[in-house]
Amino acid sequence: MSRYTGVTEQDLREMLSAVGVGSVEDLFAEIPDGVRLKRDIDLPPGRSEQEVFDELAGLAARNRHCDAEVTFLGAGMYDHYVPAVIDTLLSRSEFLTPYTPYQPEVSQGGLQVMFEFQTAIAELTGLPVANASVYEGPSAVAAAGYLAKLETRRTKLVASRGLHPHSRGALRSHATGYGMDVVEVPLDAEGATDVGALAAAVDDDTAAVFVQQPNFLGTVEELGGLAEAGKRTGALAICAADPLPLGILKPPGELGVDVCVGEGQSLGNRLDFGGPSFGFFAAAERFLRKMPGRIAGETRDVDGKRGFVLTLQTREQHIRRERATHNICTAQALNALAGVVYLSWLGRRGLVELAELMLRRTHYARGALGLEPINPGPVVREFAVHVPDLDALFERARAEGINPGYRLARDFPEYPDGLLVAITERRTRADIDRLAALAAAVREVVAA
């Protein structure tokens, strides 16, 4: 018996008697001897809650987290302020512990949360239908590719190099499965998707084009032009968008984008070393019946009361099986709850104010750093610069408890001296000025 089970000696006697066997071992009699494990599981024995806590705390203490340093690290996940209301609400058993709402009469809380979440995503993206979440950003891009395949039956996908490297990677590995080729379109000299190259890459066998907004370097892409070039031969225009900048950027749905997906971590979720967070998936009306994942819909009950249910379930794996629109079952409901609470907390004005603050601080930071930009065009919350001596910058910065950002060289060998700098609402002017001073010091040394 452990602290989570409760079979006493007395219970055991009664239970075995009711079942009609002499011992628990008898219940495993049908398992062939050849596959039985004839030793104990080779793991250390169980320990008290206190000891486990101490061990986990010890491991946690060996991680340099975002409260232990001033970080300019972004590249897909960001150090945003998560309000206390999220801790309060997400720790409620009623949100944390229930199953998927297949019995809607006792799940109206969860279903209404999904409905409100879908509404918020539809508002951000400018597309009328959104699902209740997918896993996260990069695999949402892959899921959009699958929808494009189901819709067009074509075999080619065209993806901008401005997509997050993880999104391009996930797209490629999934596409290998569902039988599509991925063609990459380069960035131009300003760090934006080369629209001419994109248009040239699109042909009659292209199912979809993918761009990211803002792109991985932080560039605000010219989405309307890219979508138009992409759709010339009947392909879908798919945009992977960063949700907070959508507070002030024109929604992809208004620029001809057919499907908008993205990473939801910025919306009220923890960094958690990369997960769990959530992916969002929104699309034009005509794709509703091909969308992946759960969708909550409004309806009435037998007494005429307003209520919510999982709807259009015939798209999903538990009904349509091999012809399902996707294989997803468990998604990210709790993380999507954090997302909709966060967006409700920010509110209509607050999202704009937050995004404008990030915009202004980002602009200030790019100027203050005084380093040659890789992408000089408009940026909202992140930008890339050339750094004359990255190692020196990092060494000095680390000594002062600062993390200057993401080194681009591994993912973008064409920018071997590139640094991606993220500015959230947590990075104050003082933080930025400190980084700027470090940059200045490094420039001086190099110039000398």
């Binding site: 019946r289 379930q313 015939t314 009904i319 349509r320 012809r323």
Partner: protein, 130 residues
């Protein structure tokens, strides 16, 4: 609607019916099929001009909890589709042989009709399951 199987129709083992009218035939699903499905919420018809092939699925019909293939009893070219089903798919339940008709085709091989069951044979199929 009470369970019924009109005498003037031909039946296919996948629970579809055909009403022959000269060179053309109208297709739908039987009372048994709509009863098994439950309330129909969506019918996705083929386009006019599509070729349908005997014994192959030409469309899907959905209820809340199930998806079913709809099988062509005969081969032909689709000349008309029941547009009313887009807004009122429940007609398939209420009147599977009338308002719930699905497509009308111009038959490409009328001799295929001989392979279909008459009402007695179909009801025998329902009774015995074979």
């Amino acid at each position: 609607m009470a369970e019924s199987y009109p005498e003037d129709l031909k039946y296919h083992e996948e629970h579809d019916w055909a009403r022959i009218d000269g060179e053309q035939a109208t297709f739908g699903v039987t009372w048994y099929a709509q009863d098994a499905l439950g309330e129909v919420v969506f019918f996705d018809p083929p386009e006019v001009g599509t070729q349908v092939t005997k014994d192959q699925s030409y469309a899907e019909v959905e209820s809340v909890k199930a998806v079913s293939d709809v099988f062509a009893p005969l081969s032909g070219e689709v000349v008309e589709v029941n547009e009313a089903l887009a807004d009122s798919p429940e007609r398939i339940n209420a009147d599977p042989y009338g308002d719930g008709w699905m497509v009308r085709v111009r038959m490409t091989d009328p001799s295929e009709v001989d392979a279909l069951m008459d009402v007695d044979a179909y009801q025998e199929l329902l009774r015995t399951g074979s």
